[in-house]
């Protein structure tokens, strides 16, 4: 019987010829990620009575959630992390400002096809875009990984999401994944391995695929896989930190469910407050007054996202009464955006361009919301209270919809406004 991607990768990692759905395997991840929560994880690790992290070369630590530190408490946490990585000899440490972990790991070549990556962050699913099996774990588990390098995983059943047709500009992979989540619900793929396939996925850039895999967790999935191809290999050419062997599902693999979409029929989508699966076509919420627009995060802070948003902002001004925050996902993205003139477009339009990091996405700092305020954001979550006040509201959308809305001051269908500097 054919095996899915999840079965094949977990069997390989467990050293078994094959694994069945539901089978628990004991595996050693290729790489493990933690971020600002490393301070807490290091404290838990100390409880094991083990002096040294086993295999420090397997751990990647990125400071991104509360950078630069906006409170003394955050600063203290960062300091503890710097001391911990120095003491433990963890070389893959990316300090404040390098970027958001889910952009930094691919850029630095740690997210490899056919590999197993675990992270103490739910959006670790992102690396499925490069053909890795990647999933989130908790802090205690990361501490245990520091001590033992090993973890149990249950082999998930798989869904296949096949997308035919071509996305019509300015519709993006964000609109596609919001549509899917809206259709199947926040638990629609609970504990499943999701495999994205079809011509629309093949046509996508890696950046666009990262959006799909990043948000797989918002439908409850354990991971979200895209088959690695020439684009993946080219991206990794001077980045990959290790040799890798891509893994592809067997043609006759058994899927618990197969879903089909036609990209050409899709319009811009918006997730309304306060859940990611509360999705509607943008037309339904057009005209909703906004106070803040957020462009960035691990979901949509890449160069193509900034470029797309810039088309709606060039030569325009952000509406009176609206703040716009732009957070490039990494220094690499920021540098490319600078060279491409995008940063000047944002600043001239009146946006605040912040250094790479998670920003206000999780409500820690840098643009949190007051009661009664409305934000339109390219992020991946809009839960009540997430971005600040529990009486604030967040709408999720693509970079095109967010930028068009920032200019109009109300939620706007990007297909209905002028681009390229002219109205």
């Amino acid at each position: 019987m054919g095996q899915t991607f999840a079965q094949k990768v977990l069997a390989k990692k467990a050293g078994l010829p094959s694994v069945a759905v539901g089978q628990i395997v004991d595996v050693e991840p290729d790489f493990c990620l933690s971020h600002d929560n490393t301070a807490a994880i290091a404290k838990t690790f100390a409880k094991f009575g083990v002096e040294k992290v086993k295999n420090p070369e397997r751990f990647v630590i990125v400071l991104d959630h509360t950078v630069p530190a906006s409170t003394e408490e955050y600063a203290k946490g960062h300091k503890e992390i710097r001391e911990f990585v120095a003491k433990q000899g963890i070389k893959a440490f990316y300090d404040a400002g390098v970027g958001i972990c889910h952009q930094v790991l691919p850029e630095m070549g740690f997210a490899l096809p056919g590999s197993l990556v675990l992270g103490s962050d739910s959006h670790t699913t992102a690396y499925g875009a490069l053909g890795a099996f990647s999933a989130g774990v908790g802090r205690s588990e990361m501490a245990a990984l520091y001590a033992t390098s090993r973890i149990w995983l249950k082999t998930p059943a798989s869904f296949k999401i096949e997308v035919v047709g071509k996305l019509k500009e300015p519709v993006t992979s964000k609109d596609l994944v919001l549509k899917i989540i809206g259709d199947i619900g926040a638990d629609g793929a609970l504990y499943k391995s999701v495999e994205y396939a079809g011509e629309a996925i093949e046509a996508m850039s890696l950046s666009s695929r990262l959006v799909l895999s990043n948000m797989a967790v918002e439908m409850g999935a354990k991971n979200g896989y895209c088959a690695p191809d020439k684009k993946t290999f080219a991206f990794l050419e001077h980045r990959a930190v290790a040799e890798y062997t891509p893994i592809y599902p067997d043609a006759e693999a058994v899927y618990e469910r197969t879903l089909g979409y036609d990209a050409s029929k899709l319009g811009p989508q918006v997730a309304k407050p306060h859940t990611v699966d509360n999705v509607a076509p943008v037309e339904e919420v057009e005209g909703t007054k906004i106070h803040q627009a957020l462009l960035g995060t691990c979901t949509n802070g890449r160069l193509e996202d900034l470029r797309l948003a810039a088309r709606y902002l060039e030569g325009k001004k952000i509406a009176k009464g609206v703040r716009m925050i732009v957070l490039p996902a990494s220094q690499e993205v920021l540098l490319e955006a600078l060279r491409g003139g995008l940063i000047e477009i944002f600043v001239r339009a009146g946006a605040m361009v912040l250094s790479p990091g998670c920003g206000p996405c999780l409500g820690a700092h840098q643009g949190v919301l007051a009661a009664g305020e409305v934000c339109i954001s390219t992020a991946n979550r809009n839960f009540q209270g997430r971005m600040g006040s529990s009486e604030a509201s967040t709408y999720l959308a693509s970079p095109a919809t967010v930028a068009a809305s920032a200019v109009a001051g109300v939620i706007t269908d990007p297909r209905k406004v002028g681009r390229g500097g002219g109205a």
Binding site: K47, E73, A135, G138, R139, S140, A143, A144, G385
Partner: protein
């Protein structure tokens, strides 16, 4: 066998409403975390919860962020177990790792209401409500071993001690 009073919630209770993002990078003791448990879902919970109470919810409990404090704050609030139709996978793991029993109950949660008294018989694998028994599947042995050791930290400590010559 445990017996407790029920706190009842719906589907898709996410970790932001269980333990808000603004607290996640503040160092807190479990007791301090418990003061904010379920803050944006039910402001009466943290003050009203008694040791031994049981939390009952619908599908996809604990979805969203991987923050382990969502499990820690519930455990520290004295809740003896969480019953849900399904759990988000990271919350499920975090709860086990914190030594907080989780029960996946396909049928019966809709019959259970706030302030009802229910029993959970872990050996028999049943939830007892108004004299009626609802079955739930046993945890895999690897997972049960972690829970029986009181969580992942004591479990790994034990394993490391046993591995030493």
């Amino acid at each position: 066998m445990i017996e407790g009073k029920v706190w009842k919630y719906g589907d898709d209770v996410n970790t932001d409403v269980i333990f808000a993002g603004k607290y996640t990078y503040k160092p807190m003791t479990p007791a301090e975390m418990a003061e904010h448990a379920l803050e944006d879902l039910d402001p009466t919970f943290a003050k009203g919860v008694k040791p031994g109470d049981i939390l009952v919810a619908g599908a996809n409990f604990g979805c969203g962020s991987s923050r382990e404090q969502a499990a820690t704050c519930i455990k520290a609030s004295g809740v003896a177990a969480v019953i849900a139709v399904t759990f988000s996978r990271i919350f499920f793991r975090n709860a086990i790792n914190e030594g907080l029993p989780v029960v996946e109950l396909a049928d019966g949660t809709t019959m259970i209401a706030k302030d009802d008294t229910i029993k959970i018989d872990f050996e028999k694998g049943v939830v007892i409500h108004n004299g009626k028994e609802y079955r739930f599947p046993a945890l895999p042995k690897e997972v049960l071993a972690i829970l029986n050791d009181g969580g992942l930290i004591p479990h790994v400590k034990k394993a490391l001690a046993n591995a030493k010559p």
